[in-house]
């Protein structure tokens, strides 16, 4: 190498330093990163509910970064309706079972499962099959039907839902796992991860009264699940969220896991054949609670 002048040497040092530091400086800014830092979406297809879950969780990188030992876990499936597992109105009990087992095996101190149901709570907990599955796997089925379990919370930055009462387990637990089932919806058009959060609040009718879509987006500012797992094993593709007959559901055999709630709902919408941009609550949360654009997230796809 030819001898460098001191000026050239200093210039080279400076440019190397700048180039070396720029990526770390701008690491979590969307503009420069190809994917949003630490956000992943794992999609699995063609298996039983248990197989889908296991394959998905073992290929979801953020899990490795999660400290589970001796922690309290809150699993929030969709247990909204007094309907059987075959109806597809609630999360599949096998997925809840596997989720409970997963965290217990990793050393969690307590695993709670709850939902503030729409139908009578004891019937919904029982007939959905989730109470039995969860208890057998070692979880505590927590009730959610009393106002005293909920604590008032302000939501900063909200435009419609400025404050609401949230179930105390959301505050008390260390890890919040959101496990919705994918369905269409009469008024919100789709119910998946973001809509499932309505089951941790006390007064859902306030949201219906004050612009449901904006309120759902506001809620996601405060309640941020650590993991979202969308049960698309049996998908309700019409007449959701309750469904009236067997023709309302289809066995899709898919499952998505993500730590970006907007992205997972975007993927869910596409799976139902809905344009994510047309979902008002999703659009309102875009850029705030996550990213609607799936190019911004690292997607891993698997088949069983």
């Amino acid at each position: 190498m030819e001898n460098l002048t001191r000026k050239e040497f200093l210039k080279k040092c400076l440019s190397v330093t700048i180039i070396a530091t720029v990526p770390s400086f701008l690491r979590d800014k969307d503009l420069f990163a190809q994917y949003t830092y630490g956000k992943y979406l794992t999609a699995v297809k063609n298996g039983s509910p248990s197989a889908l879950f296991k394959k998905g969780m073992s290929n979801f990188p953020p899990i490795e970064r999660l400290s589970i030992k001796n922690k309290k876990i809150l699993i929030k499936p969709n247990i909204g309706w007094d309907k059987s597992p075959e109806s597809g109105a609630n999360t599949h009990p096998d997925i809840v079972k596997e989720a409970v087992l997963f965290f217990i095996e990793k050393g969690a101190s307590k695993v709670y499962v709850m939902d503030h149901t729409c139908n009578q709570w004891e019937k919904s907990y029982k007939n959905s099959g989730i109470e039995y599955a969860a208890k057998n796997a070692g979880a505590i089925m927590a009730p959610a039907h009393r106002e005293s379990y909920y604590q008032a919370s302000r939501i900063s930055g909200a435009s419609k839902l400025k404050s609401t009462k949230i179930h105390e387990l959301v505050f008390e637990s260390d890890i919040f796992v959101n496990i919705p089932v994918l369905k269409t919806h009469h008024s919100a058009n789709m119910t998946s991860a973001m809509k499932n959060l309505m089951g941790v609040i006390w007064d859902r009718f306030y949201l219906h009264r004050h612009d449901l879509n904006q309120s759902i987006a506001d809620l996601s500012r405060l309640v941020k699940p650590d993991i979202n797992i969308v049960d698309a094993y049996r998908m309700m593709h019409k007449n959701g969220p309750r469904g009236y007959s067997k023709s309302d559901t289809i066995i899709k055999k898919q499952l998505f896991i993500s730590n970006d709630i907007v992205a997972i709902d975007s993927a869910s919408a596409k799976t139902l054949g809905i344009n994510p941009e047309s979902l008002r609550y999703l659009k309102a949360a875009d850029g705030i609670s996550g990213n609607i654009n799936l190019n911004k997230i690292s997607i891993k796809r698997f088949s069983i």
Binding site: M141, P143, F205, R234, Y244, I250, T271
Partner: protein
């Protein structure tokens, strides 16, 4: 056993509950005269013949009010031993029986519902004691929950009605006072069932009698809850005996017990006694039966009274119509306690069950009220029948709806509707609720969840109830082709 079943009828094993309430005298009687079913006739006959054989065993073993009184008498005895004394019973019970029987058969149910021991017990438990039970239950649940133990579940109680609570607690106080002081006072003074059975057991084949071994210690007279033993005259008024067997238990000389009356030599003539004394009850029986039969046509007259509240309230599925409900209900309030969402409340006036959609709605997957009703005021219908029974009709006012007023989505009504009577249609980029009354079963889910003020969707009563057509597709679930991920 009765207490437990009545406090939580929704959770009691249905076989046990049916056995307990299906054996009750007045409900069986009402069931029989309104339906003439073979089952009720058989059960009534069993009641009749068992009394004819052994006396009023119903009063000590099946009647819940009798068991309650026995409990009170037992407790009082522990505090200060009972010393009952014989006294001649009031004749007013026959007048009470006549009035309540004629009105019941004639279709005006209020008198019999107040006086029927089963219904009275039911109301005492449902309208009063249950509130206390739920309070205790909830206190326990709250304490256990702080330790993450969720075995006891916090429950909502029956609708709070001051009138019902006061009435029930007043009756309970009267029963406690009367039992503690005068034993089975209700049974030998007021109870129409007791009076009816007393007319039958006067000629029953086996009766309790005092024999020659009696040493006049009076222990039996002092322990007789029915105050029917007169030792001074060595006689026992068996018509008032409720077959509690206290007397047999306390007698030190084995001087009292069941005797086959036809064995009595003074009465024997070919096994039958044709003395006038034994014919009087038979004549009375015939006379009373004649009155009862002739009261039956009164039902058409009292129909006017029953129809007065037609279309005013929403009635539980299975009750068919106001006419059917009011002609059979004895207001025992078992349904009030059985409803898992506690929406059944006793209506003002006649205390009969109506639905209140301010508290919650009628759950699609439930037919508890129809399963527990002992008189078939709420007919025992299957779950799938209930899911096709229309008890009301939805009425939607679009101008009051949030979607229309604020131009935002809501859809709480469509979300909750179990049959698809309320769905949404897309207009102006919003999802507007639309209704289809041919699918509406009137469950009230839409009314309960509507957040608009004033409310934009309500259920209006339907009288009589009708059936919706089986429009739910008998369809199969498809499996998707593996077309990969949509993203």
């Amino acid at each position: 056993m009765f207490f437990l079943a009545f406090l939580n009828p929704g959770k009691t094993f249905i076989g046990l509950l049916s056995a307990l309430e299906g054996s009750q005298a007045i409900p069986l009687f009402i069931k029989f005269i309104t339906s003439f079913s073979i089952a009720s006739l058989i059960l009534l006959s069993i009641l009749f013949f068992s009394t004819l054989l052994f006396g009023r065993i119903y009063c000590s073993f099946l009647c819940p009010l009798g068991i309650l009184q026995d409990l009170i008498i037992f407790v009082k005895n522990k505090i200060s031993p009972n010393k009952f004394k014989y006294f001649k019973k009031f004749k007013i019970r026959y007048a009470i029986l006549l009035i309540s029987a004629v009105s019941a058969i004639g279709g005006f149910m209020i008198i019999i519902s107040i006086l029927d021991p089963y219904s009275l017990f039911g109301r005492i438990v449902s309208d009063f004691i249950r509130h206390i039970y739920i309070l205790a239950n909830n206190l326990t649940a709250t304490i256990l929950e702080s330790f993450d133990v969720f075995i006891i579940r916090y429950q909502r109680s029956n609708p709070f009605s001051l009138i019902s609570i006061l009435t029930a607690s007043t009756f309970l106080t009267i029963i406690i006072a009367a039992s503690a002081l005068k034993g089975r006072f209700w049974c030998y003074t007021i109870c129409p069932v007791g009076t009816t059975l007393s007319l039958i057991n006067k000629i029953s084949l086996f009766q309790i009698k005092i024999n020659s071994k009696c040493i006049s210690c009076k222990k039996c007279e002092q322990s007789c809850k029915s105050t029917c033993i007169d030792i001074d005259n060595k006689k026992l008024d068996f018509e008032d005996c409720v077959a509690c067997y206290n007397c047999i238990d306390v007698c030190p000389a084995e001087a009292i017990g069941y005797e086959y009356i036809l064995k009595n030599p003074s009465n024997n003539k070919k096994g039958f006694s044709i003395s006038r004394r034994n014919f009087i009850p038979v004549i009375k029986g015939v006379f009373i039966s004649a009155i009862m039969v002739s009261s039956y046509p009164l039902r058409n007259v009292t129909k006017v009274i029953r129809q007065k509240d037609k279309n005013k309230f929403i009635l539980p599925p299975g009750s068919k119509s106001t006419e059917n409900l009011l002609s059979r209900c004895v207001s025992c309030h078992l349904c009030v306690s059985a409803c898992p969402t506690n929406i059944i409340k006793p209506s003002k006036g006649m205390f009969q069950p109506v639905l209140d959609y301010n508290r919650s709605f009628c759950e699609y997957n439930c037919n508890s009220c129809s399963q527990v009703c002992p008189t078939d005021a709420i007919n025992n219908i299957t779950l799938s029948e209930k899911q096709k029974t229309s008890i009301g009709e939805v009425v939607f006012t679009e101008e009051l709806c949030i979607v229309s007023k604020d131009s935002v989505d809501c859809g709480a009504c469509a979300e909750h509707c179990p049959t698809g009577a309320v769905v949404t249609e897309r207009r102006k980029n919003l999802n507007f609720p639309v209704t289809d009354i041919s699918k509406c079963i009137g469950c009230g889910a839409c009314e309960f969840v509507c957040p608009a003020e004033p409310i934009a969707i309500i259920v209006k009563p339907k009288d009589p109830h009708s059936k919706i057509s089986d429009t739910i597709e008998k369809s199969i679930e498809k499996t998707a082709d593996d077309d990969g991920f949509a993203f």
